[in-house]
Every structure is written in structure tokens, then in C-alpha cells.
């Protein structure tokens, strides 16, 4: 019996092995409304030109609590009901970069390591010895160094850009799982209720079985 349990637990620990080669530091994402708002702002400035979020609508940002005026600044000609599509067409993108910039709605969930991976990727651009720009995490990437972090020489500038990357990833984390906060809040109530119910059910079981004459 105990052997069985021990082997099951061993089995479960195996699945925490990450598939990426680069050591990813644990990334603490902040999905408060303010962080997401900063993230959208940075996203519109740095990423929106090429990347779309076709499953995220501008009204979702309003539902989250961001002011309609701010959203109006970001959405330009698009309506509130529209999705956050990028400004570039697929054909132009292929001509400029050789690939269509992927939609980012689910990017955090689509990569092993999620937030940590994306943050490491965005901040992973560096100058090689040949003076070319490459990326530690994904060397074959066709995406240019959008934050221009590879040319950040002093630590203050680097910190500032890391902060921007942090905001972008926080926003993308919310975008991939907008109901996370609600889900976890509900979870506490449901588990609490179930623990109460199980205690009651256990006592009923004991009570019923105590009537059994041996």
C-alpha cells in the first residue's frame, strides 16, 4: 500500500521537469488591474504594431475596470466591441520579417514555462561577438528586439526595460486566462464548503456504522 503511494508520488514529481534548455527564473506575475493597464499601455507602444490578440476584445478591458477614455486612446478607429487586432497585414509581415507574428492571446499558455519563458525571451536579446542581435531563449527567432534591450548598456536603462517586459508579460498572462482571479476566489469558497460537507458526511457515516452490532 505505502509502496504504491510512494511510487505514485514519484511519478508525479517527474512531470515538473521543464522542457526548455535555458534556466528560467521564477517569474512573479502581477495581474492587478493597474499592472494589466500598464501592460496594455506598453503592449500598444511596443508590440501592437505587429501582434494581434484576436480573442481579447476592448470591452474586456472595460469589464476589468480600465477607464473607457484610456481604452479609446488605445483602440483608435476600432470599436469597443472589436478584437485587439494588429496594425500590420499578414503579407506585409511576411515581407518584412519572413513570418507572420503569432497571435498572443494564448501565448503564455502555449509555452512550457509560460510567464517565465516569455519574460526570459523578451529580455533575452543580446549582441553577439559579430555584432548581430540574437536571443538566448529562442536563437532562431525572426522577431526583432522590440524593447531594444540588447543595446541597453547601463543597469538603470536595463531595469527600466525589464520593468516594461514585466508589464507586457503581466498583461499577456491576464489575456490568456482572464477569469483566473474569479476562478481562484470561487475555488476558496467551494473547497471550504466541501471540507465542511465532508466533515458532516464523515460524522453521518460514523453515526450510521456505530449502529452495526459486531
Amino acid at each position: 500500500m505505502n509502496k504504491f503511494i510512494a511510487s505514485v508520488m514519484l511519478y508525479c514529481t517527474v512531470f515538473t521537469v521543464s522542457a526548455s534548455e535555458v534556466k528560467l527564473e521564477k517569474f512573479q506575475v502581477d495581474t492587478s488591474v493597474l499592472a494589466v493597464e500598464r501592460g496594455v499601455d506598453t503592449f500598444m507602444e511596443v508590440c501592437h504594431g505587429c501582434h494581434s490578440l484576436k480573442y481579447v476584445f476592448y470591452r474586456d478591458l472595460a469589464a476589468l475596470g480600465i477607464s473607457r477614455d484610456r481604452i479609446a486612446e488605445w483602440r483608435g478607429d476600432s470599436t469597443l466591441e472589436a478584437a485587439m487586432t494588429s496594425l500590420i497585414s499578414d503579407e506585409t509581415a511576411i515581407l518584412s520579417f519572413g513570418a507572420v507574428p503569432p497571435d498572443l492571446s494564448m501565448m503564455v499558455a502555449a509555452r512550457v514555462g509560460g510567464n517565465s519563458y516569455l519574460y526570459a525571451y523578451l529580455t533575452g536579446y543580446y549582441l553577439t561577438s559579430d555584432g548581430e542581435i540574437s536571443n538566448h531563449v529562442f536563437p532562431l527567432t525572426k522577431m526583432p528586439d522590440a524593447l531594444d534591450i540588447s543595446s541597453a548598456s547601463d543597469s538603470a536603462r536595463r531595469s527600466e526595460l525589464q520593468g516594461k517586459a514585466h508589464d507586457i508579460v503581466s498583461f499577456l498572462s491576464w489575456a490568456a486566462d482572464p477569469h483566473k482571479a474569479e476562478r481562484e476566489r470561487m475555488g476558496y469558497y467551494v473547497i471550504g464548503y466541501l471540507i465542511l460537507l465532508s466533515v458532516l458526511l464523515y460524522n453521518v457515516k460514523l453515526e450510521v456504522w456505530s449502529r452495526l452490532k459486531t
Partner: protein, 170 residues
């Protein structure tokens, strides 16, 4: 065990069973809520709950049909004589004052669905005629004759500017 103990046990047992049934039953009922709620309109449909209409393109005596929540809504630009005619009468089968059915007398906004069986009436001369079973409505949407059990419904709407109305909000 004494009889007193036994009675106390019975009391405790019945309380336990009652309490568990109540807690369990409440949980089971609460568990149904997400299932039922999932059948209600989803977020993007609620976003389409309002329709804005630009009135400047509609000439006098002209009518525009717009979609609101999947239904047709007639927006009629009434002339002076049309307004006078409607103010003079109280309608037919279900008397109602015309001024109670409009916010500004030259604009009539009614849901274009016959109150009888749901067909869309046609604009014919003064008012509308429903070709399904012959109900007749006047230029205020009030039923004059036919099997329709009520006047054309006025949806919630408001003027958001001189030439724009928003249907779906009061």
C-alpha cells in the same frame, strides 16, 4: 447506556442528518447555477444589447428598419399631419395616447414584430399591415383591427444627441 443517553443520541443523530441534508442540498442546488447561467446570452451578445441609430438620414414620412437584439425595429419620421392625426385619436382596440408612446413626436420607435404571432408587418399607407393574419396598425403602432392582442411594443430607447438614439437603454 441509559435511556436518557439513548434519547440524546437519537436527538444528536437526527440533528446531524438534518444538518448534513441541508448543507448537501444547498450545495447541490448551488452547483446547478453555473449550468443554468451558461445558457444565458454570453458576453459578446450582451455587448450587442444596444443599437445606435443615426436619424439624420431618414426623410419625413420615411421609415428605417434597424436590428436590435435580433429583432427589427421601425424608426418612423412622422410629418406634421401624421402627428396631428395620431394625437387626435386614441387608436383602435387598445386605446393609448400617442404622446405616451413617443419621446419626440416626430420620431416613432416601435419593435416591428406583430403582437399576434410574430410576423413582421409591412408599411402600407398610414400605418402597417401584417400579411400573416391581417392585423392593421396606425402610424403610432396601435392596432386598429385584426387578431393582434396588443399595440406594437415600444422598446427602451433614449436620445443621446439631437440626431441619434440608442435603442436598449432608457
Amino acid at each position: 447506556m441509559t435511556e436518557a443517553d439513548d434519547l440524546e443520541n437519537k436527538g444528536r443523530r437526527s440533528f446531524l442528518l438534518k444538518a448534513t441534508s441541508v448543507v448537501g442540498g444547498t450545495g447541490a442546488a448551488a452547483a446547478c447555477y453555473p449550468f443554468v447561467a451558461s445558457m444565458n446570452p454570453s458576453a459578446e451578445l450582451l455587448a450587442k444589447a444596444n443599437t445606435e441609430v443615426d436619424l439624420s438620414g431618414i426623410p419625413e414620412k420615411g421609415m428605417h428598419t434597424v436590428a436590435w437584439q435580433g429583432k427589427p425595429v421601425f424608426v418612423l419620421h412622422r410629418s406634421e399631419d401624421q402627428i396631428k392625426a395620431m394625437a387626435a385619436s386614441e387608436g383602435g382596440l387598445f386605446p393609448e395616447q400617442d404622446k405616451d408612446r413617443v419621446k419626440q413626436p416626430e420620431w416613432l420607435v416601435v419593435i416591428g414584430v406583430c403582437t399576434h404571432m410574430g410576423c413582421v408587418p409591412n408599411k402600407e399607407g398610414p400605418g402597417w399591415t401584417c400579411h400573416c393574419h391581417g392585423s392593421q396598425y396606425d402610424d403610432s403602432g396601435r392596432v386598429l383591427r385584426g387578431p393582434a392582442p396588443g399595440n406594437l411594443e415600444v422598446p427602451p430607447y433614449r436620445f443621446i444627441s439631437a440626431n441619434r438614439i440608442k435603442i436598449g437603454e432608457v
